[in-house]
């Protein structure tokens, strides 16, 4: 009896020692070829030849909340990444910030400039997978639901009496007349002028399906998106686990999908993603990049990865109601004193050598028309910073900080607590500005408090957060910087800027509009309502056997061209 008891013990001991030995040795026998393929570019312009079939498993950061991407409930990337493969899109943004009229016969036509009347022609071949064509009815129903109003609903919270839950009315609220010319052609009249009309009519579900759902617009698409007008169609959603799309064999586009299925596996903890890739449980990841995660993925020999710079950019917003910050001299001193290159080198260069300072707050660097403005602030210049302060009537005190009228310049810098990168950023900026005699105090709040309570109430001095660039930069920038606008947290107001912004928002020529966008930025470099820092990186990892998968660093994301995805011929063979 004694012996039989001891043997299992020895076995157990052996197993545990093996476990520990294995764990300790985990670093030294990694593949010698690791890191070879990391900087490979995925070029999505030329479609590589694909083999038949295959299934791609994507590690989704978040589970979708439903499928109506135009409601405030479903207005997130987790939903967009799915419906981008399913719904009707008149237009999609290309990675170069251009426009691809995927669902139209051609560019929408300007019928009249005053009043502004635009005509859209839906592609003749465009159809849902249940056989019905995509018609003006689908678009009109979509528009009607967004702008549906009921006088009985008018209240303080809902001044226009909107009936449905809609995330944004921009553009739609300017429509005064929607006219169906025929099944595939419709004309829309805008008043006031809406210059970003080219971006309208995306994420459109089938009208007939939505009408048949008891929940209607708000909740009718909670569990099922209905028929597909995209390259894939909805197959199954196992809540908490995965969502599966399958090939839409009736897809009318030029490039036919070859993958049998795209599976979204829900992996909210990005730390689980590298192991899942390594163990062949997922094929594609697109997490918020973090250094150790990027390192781990770059070690994998059968995965190629790509760092891009997306439309999201970090910046410092100045509260112009603050007694010091309302003084341009102080803002100038800060712009001269913050070493943006040093911040990029410290925090972003470890991700990619291509990381760079952003010198424009209206256009992002990979966008047509981008100019590196604010020339005088591009290189850090502590001497000029101090000069600006002196010229503004400030004098340096014994403690090394500037003061005026006995009051020392002391400002709070606030960002989202718990975000390590931003916390480090705050410390760096604090140290940099201390050198030019401006005292900063770190005053971070959880993102909830910052965005819900502090920013809208103007309870900040300098705030560090992010804005998102766009293919339609003028509309976005107008929303953020125009006098009295909801998102204008720093209370910036400049009549000249407002004039240019208004002009830009009503300029129907897209080239001229980009010039005006740049002018808007130049105007703001004079006033410095904020200071752009850098664009945030994106990170895409994809197993080598897949071809034509690449990031689209506009707001579109990597799923924009899923119809050309596939497995390589070699892998399929």
């Amino acid at each position: 009896m004694r012996d039989t008891r001891r043997n299992p013990w020895l076995l157990a001991l052996f197993v545990v020692l093996a476990l520990i030995a294995g764990a300790c040795g985990s670093d030294d026998d990694d593949d010698p070829t690791a890191g070879e393929d990391t900087e490979e570019e995925t070029d999505s312009k030329d479609i590589e030849e694909r083999g038949a079939g295959g299934s791609l498993v994507y590690a989704a950061d978040q589970e979708p909340t439903g499928f109506n991407g135009n409601t405030s409930k479903d207005n997130g990337t987790s939903v967009k990444n799915v419906i981008e493969n399913l719904f009707f899109y008149a237009v999609k943004a290309t990675p170069e910030f251009g426009l691809d009229y995927v669902g139209l016969e051609g560019e929408p036509e300007i019928v009249s400039e005053d009043p502004q009347v635009i005509e859209w022609k839906i592609k003749k071949s465009a159809a849902w997978d249940d056989g019905k064509p995509v018609t003006t009815d689908d678009v009109e129903y979509f528009y009607e639901q967004i702008e549906l109003k009921d006088p009985a609903k008018v209240s303080e919270d809902n001044p226009k009496g909107y009936v449905n839950d809609v995330a944004n009315h921009v553009g739609y609220e300017q429509i005064t007349k929607f006219e169906a010319v025929d099944d595939k052609t419709f004309r829309v009249t805008f008043d006031p002028v809406f210059a970003d009309f080219r971006g309208l009519w995306t994420d459109i579900p089938q009208a007939a399906f939505m009408k048949a759902q008891a929940g209607g617009w708000d909740t009718g698409l909670d569990a099922n998106p209905g028929p597909s007008a995209g390259p894939y169609k909805f197959k199954e959603w196992k809540k908490g686990e995965s969502l599966t799309l399958e090939k839409n064999t009736k897809w009318w586009g030029e490039d036919k999908p070859t993958l049998d299925t795209i599976v979204f596996r829900f992996l909210p903890e990005s730390t689980t993603q590298p192991d899942a890739l390594r163990n062949n449980e997922v094929d594609m990841i697109y997490p918020q990049p973090q250094l150790d995660l990027v390192d781990q993925v770059e070690q994998l020999t059968d995965v190629k990865s790509e760092i891009g710079f997306g439309p999201v950019f970090e910046h410092l917003t100045f509260n112009l109601k603050n007694e010091f910050l309302k003084d341009l001299a102080v803002r100038k001193a800060i712009a001269h004193g913050v070493d943006r290159d040093a911040i990029v080198n410290a925090l972003m260069k470890p991700f990619s050598d291509k990381a760079a300072r952003l010198d424009n707050r209206v256009l992002v660097s990979n966008q047509e028309g981008y100019e590196a403005n604010g020339k005088e602030y591009q290189k850090v210049d502590p001497a000029k910073a101090e000069e600006a302060l002196k010229a503004g009537g400030y004098t340096k005190g014994a403690d090394g900080f500037y003061a005026k009228g006995g009051k020392k310049i002391s400002l709070r810098i606030s960002t989202t607590a718990g975000n390590q990168l931003r916390e480090q950023q705050g410390e760096l900026i604090k140290a940099q500005l201390a050198k030019v005699g401006i005292e900063l105090r770190i005053d971070n709040s959880p993102s909830t408090v910052l965005f819900r309570d502090r920013l809208p109430a103007g309870d900040f001095d300098i705030a560090n957060f992010a804005w998102v660039g766009s293919v339609f930069p003028v509309g976005g920038a107008k929303q953020i910087y125009e006098t009295g606008s909801d998102s204008n947290y720093g209370a910036y107001s400049n009549a000249e800027f407002d004039k240019v912004a208004k002009e830009g928002a009503s300029e129907l020529d897209d080239k001229k509009q980009l010039e005006l966008a740049d002018e808007m930025d130049k105007e703001m470099w004079k006033d410095l309502p904020n200071l752009p820092l850098y664009q945030k990186p994106t990170f895409l990892g994809i197993r080598n056997q897949f071809v034509n998968v690449g990031d689209n660093t506009t707001n579109e994301g990597p799923f924009w061209n899923s119809q050309v995805w596939g497995v390589s011929k070699a892998a399929a063979a």
């Binding site: 294995g22 764990a23 919270d157 944004n168 009315h169």
Partner: protein, 325 residues
């Protein structure tokens, strides 16, 4: 006995009501279900206000709590702010996932812990006892995510060496798997293996210490000495007289711990990406999804109350002294 059970359940009601209000108020103050919408510059303040009104976020916390409690009394747990799914569906699914994850590991941990504890006590200060003690403390003090990480790494290495996936690191099954009953079962087991081993090692480590202490206590008691003096065989002394009595303390510990595990083995669930109770609750806390958080809390609290009660009843059943007192 019935009176005892009813009294205990009745006394737990104020605790649950108070804790649900505290959680409601804390989550309402600390997180925001509309955070993403607020960060979107295209969403106007009117849109946000409208949405706030729709979800009732603009009302005072006490009023919101009373609304919620009124629905709960009518057996309606409401719907998630995030995806409008009925809260009950979400929690039911989460419980199922957690139960599937912890049931086997708890059973295995219990059997191993009892075996190991008894062995360590009977062979006190032997090599086996020292080794058992050593590893119990190793696993007890090891952070779960670290242990899980090591096991994942070993599992993946094993797969790579074999050229075939046996162990899986995420979820409880491969999506859209088609195959025979055996394929599906093997796939499930391959997903279950690593989380089960992780949880088993961690729980076993603690429980075996309880069992060892209880057994040592019993072995030095008078009635064991009496049994030995009567000339019973050592096997009979240990199995009949000592072992049974030494199970009593562990029973209560296990019953109470199990309630805690069902409430969410949140780290294990996160590392292995199982959408169980802990992860459902944690995700809801982060998103400010109050209906889900508070309902989850109340149900977890009720499970804890019930399991504590079961522990007490078991104690009485196992120990006649308590029953008759």
């Amino acid at each position: 006995m019935t009176g005892f059970v009813l009294r205990r359940l009745f006394l737990s009601i104020p605790v649950i009501v108070l804790s649900s209000f505290l959680v409601f108020a804390l989550v309402a103050a600390s997180s925001d279900p509309l955070e993403a919408l607020r960060a979107n510059p295209l969403a106007s303040r009117a849109t946000i206000a409208e949405r706030e009104a729709e979800l009732g976020l603009n009302k005072p916390v006490v009023e919101r709590y009373l609304d919620w409690a009124g629905d709960v009394v009518r057996l309606d747990l409401g719907r998630s702010y995030a995806d409008n799914e009925p809260v009950w569906d979400k929690l039911e699914r989460g419980f199922g996932v957690t139960f599937r994850m912890v049931a086997l590991s708890t059973l295995l941990a219990l059997m191993l812990a009892v075996g190991l504890g008894v062995f360590s006590a009977v062979r006190q200060y032997s090599v086996g006892d020292y080794a058992g003690t050593f590893f119990a403390f190793v696993f007890f003090s090891m952070p779960v995510f670290w242990l899980a990480g090591i096991l994942k790494d070993l599992g993946i290495r094993f797969n790579q060496a074999l050229g075939k996936t046996v162990f899986y690191t995420i979820g409880e099954r491969t999506p859209n798997l088609e195959g025979t009953w055996w394929d599906v079962t093997a796939n499930r087991l391959g997903h279950l293996a690593l989380p089960t081993i992780t949880l088993m090692l961690v729980t076993m480590a603690a429980w075996s210490r309880y069992q060892r202490a209880a057994m040592l206590d019993v072995l030095s008691s008078d009635y064991v000495r009496t049994a030995r003096a009567k000339g019973l065989t050592e096997f009979r002394v240990i199995s009949k007289h000592a072992f049974r009595n030494a199970l009593i303390p562990l029973t209560t510990v296990v019953a109470i711990d199990f309630a805690g595990i069902v409430g969410g083995a949140v780290i294990t669930e996160s590392v292995f990406a199982w959408q169980g109770m802990g992860r459902v609750t944690l995700g809801a806390i982060n998103r400010g999804d109050i209906p889900v958080v508070v309902a989850a809390l109340v149900i977890i609290a009720m499970v804890v109350v019930v399991f504590n009660l079961i522990a007490d009843i078991l104690y009485a059943v196992l120990d006649p002294r308590i029953r008759n007192a």
